[in-house]
Amino acid sequence: MKGISMMSMRSGFTWSVIGLCAGLLISIEARGQAPSPGATLFEKRCYSCHNIGSGDKKGPDLKGVTLRRSRDWLHEYIKSPAAMNRRGDPEARALFKKFAPEVMPDQDITDEQIDAILALIDELTRKNETFVPAGAKLSRPVTPADIDLGRQLFVGRRALSNGGPACISCHTVSGVGRLGGGTLGPDLTAVNVKYRDPELIAILQNPNFPTMKTVFGTRPLTDEEIVQLFAYLQNVKPAHPTTQALAGIARIEPWFVTIGFVVLLGAIIGLNVIWKSRLRGVREPLVRRSTS
């Protein structure tokens, strides 16, 4: 994990500079457009998992969805996909099946808000444009120093100001610690490959994923922290170009398990040593001794 050669370090650095510049450009480009209400809502609530016109993410690309499904269906589904699935709606079932294990959480959303979002989708579909998040911009340009600061935040060395837990609690990236990071959430090594920069920034601002939504809902990242984490996450894959980020979650760290078992063995031996003079019977050994 940590065996970074001088070559890859330098190339990693190069890549990170390129990535930073790209991010800077995109963030500048996205600046200055006043977003519509639907766009604000979409960005905040849906963008973590859905694109419009850029392909499936965790959830399906929503371009043209108003043409595919009826308004009523959409209203009902958005409010509670699970209920529709349970009810046995064939389209809901098909969606659940296609995107399993991802599950769209129930949304606490009004009909007016849904209409605003659908209006946005209509507009972009009509104009054949892709959705670009408005707020997905960094508060300031990234500097190389931010990479290490971001790592400190990731690992929990420095606590997040609003009280959120450190990323390493649930996420791992290549090279973080000898035994890696958490595996409750997905491996974030290639997250900058999976998500384009605006998406990544949007996620950092509003992680609308199931568990993260509730944990970070009341404890969002500050702008400064977003910049630093963005820098760090951008740098991970370039710094470890050869490691494969495994899809999905639940990956074992062999060293961790090995340590556990070795110490377990030691503990059991220790128990035997501490209590080695425990009574193992008096009569039977006596009879055996005397009759042998």
Partner: protein, 256 residues
């Protein structure tokens, strides 16, 4: 809906059931409060089973409790990855120890004829539920690491919301089914607590540490009955007497 049932209604019902059943059993049939030791019948395997199990599970439960009481401290402690790894490794060790213990106990209870003779269905249920609980816990620790951190971040707020009577199930609803089963199984164990041998946890004799060695009980207040005042040498012995004193006197009491 299912989440609400399992993670909001069930815990409250389980706690209520546990409190009522435990208290009622203590006062009405205190005789049944016993750790029901079977060491006399089979001692060899029990050593590995009981000692490993108890040491393991007590450490694990204390860990869970510390997480419940001081989640921010835990997260701060885990801020240095090495510390996180040490904590998690220690936790895994005790979890595995508990696992080894409970498997050993369960196998022993099934295989040993003498122990079978004193086994009730509830004993087996308790062992199986505990095995499931520990197995799921160890699985979580290995596959969904780092449990100590996200337990403090995700599960503890949920548990606290339960304790504050403002349950928020959204925190744990999206967790993997293994973790959710671990939580539900815990509630199940709480629910059957008062009906099983688990009550022996409540009567752990911590008072033994400061109790004087000897215990003498009079069935009646001799001085009141006989109408005599106690002589000077008969001053009631306080509990602060040195432990070495072989004889001491307890306040007259009738054991009810």
């Amino acid at each position: 809906m299912m989440d609400n049932l399992l993670f909001v209604i069930f815990p409250y019902a389980a706690v209520l059931l546990a409190v009522v059943a435990t208290a009622q059993r203590y006062f009405k049939s205190g005789f049944s409060y016993s750790s029901l030791s079977s060491q006399f019948l089979e001692s060899g395997e029990l050593f590995y089973g009981s000692v490993a199990w108890h040491f393991g599970i007590i450490a694990v439960l204390i860990g869970h409790l510390i997480g419940l009481l001081f989640p921010e401290r835990v997260l701060w402690f885990n801020g240095v990855p090495v510390r996180l790894y040490i904590l998690e490794s220690t936790g895994l060790l005790f979890g595995l120890l508990a696992l080894v213990g409970i498997v050993s106990l369960l196998v022993r209870r099934i295989v040993s004829a003498r122990v079978r003779a004193v086994t009730t269905p509830m004993d087996v249920i308790v062992l199986v539920l505990l095995l499931i609980q520990v197995a799921l816990g160890v699985y979580t620790a290995i596959f969904y690491r780092w449990g100590s951190s996200w337990y403090a971040a995700v599960a503890v707020p949920y548990l606290r919301s339960l304790l504050a009577l403002r349950p928020d199930v959204q925190l744990i609803a999206p967790l993997p089914w293994v973790v959710k089963l671990h939580i539900v199984n815990a509630y199940l164990l709480v629910a059957i607590f008062g009906f099983s041998r688990l009550v022996h946890m409540l009567v752990f004799p911590v008072q033994y540490l400061w109790r004087p060695y000897q215990l003498v009980i009079w069935n009646w207040n001799r001085w009141r009955i006989r109408g005599q005042a106690p002589a000077l040498s008969q001053q009631p012995v306080e509990a602060s007497e040195p432990i070495r004193e072989p004889m001491t006197r307890r306040r007259p009491a009738f054991t009810r």
